[in-house]
């Protein structure tokens, strides 16, 4: 069976060009669909279950990073193995540097045939080693490997995308947060030591302490850069929790993980990408 792929790229000419270049570099590859925005990329990927994804990082609706994170959670691993992910970007020098050594890949626009051939080679190797002949243990291992790759790729691309922002005091961890009270006009200074978790909701981030809820408007990406990674763990694309507040981890029938926090009643979902944090030692 021929390998299959999906291209997500919002600029029609560039999508067309990538498809053409892929046709030359990898004639057997069958491009199942081309999506013009992040949301339809997720939808089409879940419908067609391709083996390779070429995702533009900047897309309307949902950007490439967000679309990949959502796919990681919603991918039906019992129907098809997790796809190989390749980010496509016009300009992202930091991400490019970070990707240089990675197994799966990024492609810099305009697509250079030689560079693309290298990517294709890596993809072919990855796909060849992926075919688990109905051995559940091997399949698990392959999934874990792919997830680890995705995690690295998302982190590298995220770091690249975030470095474009003015990240003042990126080194010094945040001590206080100026946050508005939910539903009010008052801004409070919230000591970071009281925060149990952050949750991205639409345009806001909810800041939750044991007793109260506040709102801030900083993007999660930017906030993460200012948090101590030892103290706060990202467990979901929209949730960052205080590691010391985690009480218990539960696995439901579908295999999804949830966290109980000391001091909060909510159940916190754990994304598949971050499930490795909670594997028993």
């Amino acid at each position: 069976m021929n390998p299959t792929a999906l291209i997500a790229e919002d600029e029609p000419l560039l999508a067309h060009a990538l498809k053409a270049e892929l046709g030359a570099a990898w004639p057997e590859l069958q491009v199942l669909a081309t999506a013009g925005d992040g949301r339809s990329a997720v939808r089409e990927a879940l419908r067609l279950l391709p083996q390779v994804l070429f995702f533009d990082i900047r897309m309307p609706g949902l950007d490439g990073l967000g679309a990949a994170a959502e796919l990681a959670d919603r991918w039906p691993t019992d129907e098809a193995p997790m796809p190989q992910l390749v980010f496509v970007t016009a300009y992202d020098e930091y991400a490019a540097r970070a990707f240089e050594t990675q197994a799966i890949d990024y492609v810099l626009k305009p697509v250079q045939p030689e560079r693309l051939r290298k990517t294709v080679l890596r993809l072919q190797q990855a796909l060849a080693s992926q075919h688990p002949h109905a051995k559940p243990a091997a399949a698990d291992e392959a999934l874990e490997r792919t997830l680890a790759q995705w995690r690295q790729l998302l982190a590298a691309a995220g770091a690249g995308a975030a470095s474009g922002l003015p990240s003042q005091a990126a080194r010094a961890p945040l001590k206080m947060i100026a946050a508005s009270e939910a539903g009010g006009n008052t801004v409070r200074m919230v000591p970071i030591d009281e925060v149990l978790y952050f949750e991205a909701a639409d345009k806001y981030i909810r800041v939750l302490t044991a007793t109260r809820e506040y709102l801030i408007r900083t993007p999660l990406k930017q906030l993460l850069a200012q948090l101590d990674p030892e103290v706060f763990w990202q467990v979901h694309r929209a949730v960052v929790v205080r590691s010391a507040a985690i009480g218990a981890v539960h696995r439901d029938e579908a295999g999804k993980l949830h966290l109980d926090l000391k001091g909060r009643p909510e159940k916190i979902p754990v994304s598949r990408l971050y499930a490795h944090l909670f594997r028993a030692m």
Binding site: G36, P60, A90, Y91
Partner: protein, 357 residues
Amino acid sequence: MSVGALPRFRAENIRSMLRHGLITVAFCCFIAAALAITQHGDWGAQMVYSLSIGLISWLFIDVGRLLISGHREILWPTGPWGYLLVAGGVLVGFLGGNAIGDAWTHQPLLNFSSFEERRLATTIIITLTATICMCFFFYSLGRSKHMRSQIELAQRNATEARLKLLEAQLEPHMLFNTLANLRVLITADPPRAVAMLDRLNNYLRMTLSGSRALAHPLSAEFERLADYLELMSVRMGARLRYTLDLPEDLRDTPVPPLLLQPLVENSIRHGLEPKVEGGRIAVTARQDAGRLVIEVSDTGVGLDANQPAPSGGSGFGLEQVRERLATVYGDQGRMSLATAPAGGTCTTLSFPLPPLA
């Protein structure tokens, strides 16, 4: 707390203090020499008196000013504290210096009554005048150094603002994506590639020289907008539609170059790009009671959605337009932001039309 940890005792300040000390020593030697010559006194004794008084005053005042000036840029205490410090320095220097000098010449300690009145008065006057002069000298030195650094800072800020403007116009994503598109067109559709290259050429030329010219005709401004929008519509395909509406009689009205550019860019970046189905941008110019009114409206995601992304650059673009309006037209220039009827954003600029020539 160690002394080194205090920022005001950082190496640079200690160095300038030692420099003051050396100048003081030189000055004291000069006074001692002058006194020794005019009063035919003992060179050694004059030197000891002069140096002791000078160095004690210097130490007292220079250390004192660092201690009580806190973290101010000009390291000098403000208000009465400054005068008190000098007075204290004079007093301590005078008493201490005389004590050392007296010990050196084996006179009874601080036995001022043994002085002739005239000599005592002379010493006091010399100490006072010298100390105040030196203090004023060092204070002016420090202040001029501070002023110089302020001027440098202002120049740096201005340069940075210009660079930021240029960087916003030549945003790498825009540039590289445009080039990537161009590369595709070169093989797929050469005539269109040539047209796009010409647009890019115009756009770059304007961006790089735009900050230098003071004004150009409104028609030229609209042409540059057309270049930019055409480039963007090659990239965005059917997701971007636009109309430019410039009445014939307003074509020659002078406007600051690239005034409208940031507004159109905002419409695309914060209005249409995040919107999956894209939309329409309309730029219109009209005349209204002796004023020129320019409207940039889009059917994008709208105002509220813009706001949480100040880091995306919309703040800088708008701020820049507002500042330029204020520079050219004073309080006669106006800019307002509103939600467009179709749900997007509508930015309106207005300023007085220049009288017809």
